[in-house]
Amino acid sequence: MKRVYVKEEWCLGCHLCEYNCAFANSNERDMVSALKGKPWVSAVQIEESADVCFAVACRHCKEPLCVTACITGALTKAEDGSVRIDRDKCVGCHSCIMMCPYGAVVMDGNHVANKCQLCLTNKFGQPKCVEGCPNGAIVYEER
């Protein structure tokens, strides 16, 4: 399956991926109405130190531990291999956060879990973070 892969040597830590992610999953028409003056959450997170930075998002594991621990059935592995979340089912127990080895599940403002679904469930259909990355530091491809 196609996944988002990271090339940390190309990452400038500009955080555009985070803005794009929050926007793409907001259902708003443009980035300003999605983000300006509002609390927002991105499913991709930049980690940075003095000399390294890179983006982290769900790896869509072959055997996702988050799915095995989800007490509601909100997290599932779809036929296409992506790990999906039904946020209507999530009760915010954080079992997925406890299980994800990469720290790729985040909490939303309303305390339910949030994670990358590769933009397969929003109107964009493919990762907006990748499209918006000025340096190709994140790519969406088959490996």
Binding site: V6, K7, R59, T68, I71, C93, H94, I97
Partner: protein, 408 residues
């Protein structure tokens, strides 16, 4: 191939998925004592609270049984196993043959003998959807409820009853809340939060004698109630296997492939005792992730595959009255308390992370859980950085590259 699965819950679902990964044709019969399609047991408290709608109680979609070619005999109990004839006798009088059998009977609430308990008219356990509904029907805004047991189930019960009743008192024999998972400090934080939410918590004491509407405690205190909830603990349902001559300890004894000592009989979930790879011994974990994973491993092996369940250990995460409580592994070795927006204690032994207790500051805690699971040598990571804030920055570039640049 004919598969029979006893117990229609989480381990059973894991097994169905495991079987169907290898065998799309074999016949699967599920025998479940409860009359409902598989629902998530931990959600019963959220359901009473009104936080989970009835349709969201169910762990799988309605189509699950049909899509996986399963015949579900719900509201039916398995009465006995004949391991030599390879048959199971059911409560409807039928006898079903199996080639491979899974026992996933879970556990049942344990009610210890208590003086005068028979005088109490309204008493409940809190384990099934029917338990939850019966409890809800028996209380109202004026009710006083006494909950015996400050384990996870008692706590979740208190949380969901808070807005449904007038007063809640919790009593536990132990000096701490969740003593197996929390240290004194974390337990104190949880207790404080309960008290701030109007719950009376009485620790280190137990009921000496019940009257119809009151209990005298061993510390001399008297508690009035209209209803009692018994949440002292659970015991694995082992009798089917035991009576058939299978090996049983505290739970059903299984090997790494989830085989019992009876040929072609597997077991998984709350009813088994597992090897806890962190704790280093055998114990009943009685946890959701262990049930699902154990069931899946059993299913894979029942259908001719090869899987081992070697990486099991205790993990628990819940939110209680807005407070996040997350624990993993065990509290052995040196305890490092780190700077935190809530509370965070990490347990390190032989330069490996063995466990943690976190209150509220749970962001990316799965990175800690992975250190425990993988037995990572802490000298290979920037552990100081990890203590402050879990992140992939603390790992070598090659490790990070394999995670973020490859398939995991």
């Amino acid at each position: 191939m004919r598969y029979v699965l006893i117990g229609n819950s989480i381990a059973c679902v894991g097994a169905v998925e495991g079987i169907r990964a290898n065998d799309k044709e074999g016949r699967i019969t599920i025998v479940g004592k409860e009359k409902y399609p598989v629902y998530s047991r931990p959600l019963i408290s959220y359901y009473l609270q009104g936080k989970v709608k009835e349709r969201n109680l169910f762990y799988k979609t309605e189509a699950f049984y049909k899509d996986n070619g399963c015949e579900a005999m719900l509201g039916t109990e398995a009465l006995s196993i004949d391991a030599s004839r390879k048959t199971v006798k059911l409560s409807d009088g039928s006898v079903v043959p199996y080639d491979k059998l899974l026992v996933a009977t879970g556990s049942s609430p344990f009610v210890p003998p208590m003086n005068g308990l028979e005088k109490v008219a309204i008493k409940h356990t809190f384990y099934t959807l029917d338990d939850a509904r019966a409890l809800q029907e028996s209380v109202n805004q004026n009710s006083k409820v006494l909950i015996i047991g400050c384990g996870l189930i008692g706590l979740k019960c208190a949380e969901c009853l808070k807005d449904l009743v007038n007063k809640i008192t919790m009593v536990d024999f132990a000096e701490k809340i969740l003593p197996a998972c929390l240290d004194g400090k974390a337990s104190g934080m949880v207790k404080l939060n309960l008290e701030e939410n109007g719950i009376e918590v009485l620790l280190g004491t137990s009921v000496k004698e019940f009257e119809a509407n009151s209990a005298t405690l061993t510390n001399g205190k008297e508690v009035d109630f209209d209803a009692v909830v018994l949440a002292v603990g659970v015991r694995p349902n082992v009798s089917l296997v035991k009576d058939a001559g299978g090996a049983v300890g505290r739970g059903i004894v299984v090997d790494e492939r989830m085989r019992t000592s009876l040929a072609d009989v597997y077991a998984a979930g709350d009813c088994v005792e597992n090897t806890d790879c962190v704790f280093g011994g055998c114990r009943v974990l009685a946890l959701f992730p262990s049930a699902f994973t154990g069931g899946r491993v059993a299913g894979i092996n029942m259908s001719g595959g090869n899987a081992a369940n070697g990486m099991d250990f205790a993990v628990n995460s819940t939110k209680l009255f807005g407070q996040s409580i997350m624990t993993a592994g065990c509290m052995s070795g040196e305890q490092l308390e780190t700077e935190s927006t809530g509370y965070k204690a990490l347990f390190v032994q032989d330069n490996k992370l063995k466990g943690y207790i976190i209150i509220d500051d749970i962001e990316r805690a799965g990175i800690y859980t992975a250190l425990i699971r993988n037995g990572t040598d802490l000298s290979t990571v920037d552990f100081e950085m990890l203590q402050r804030k879990p992140g992939l920055l603390a790992f070598d570039k090659e490790v990070r590259q394999s995670i973020l640049g490859g398939e995991v």
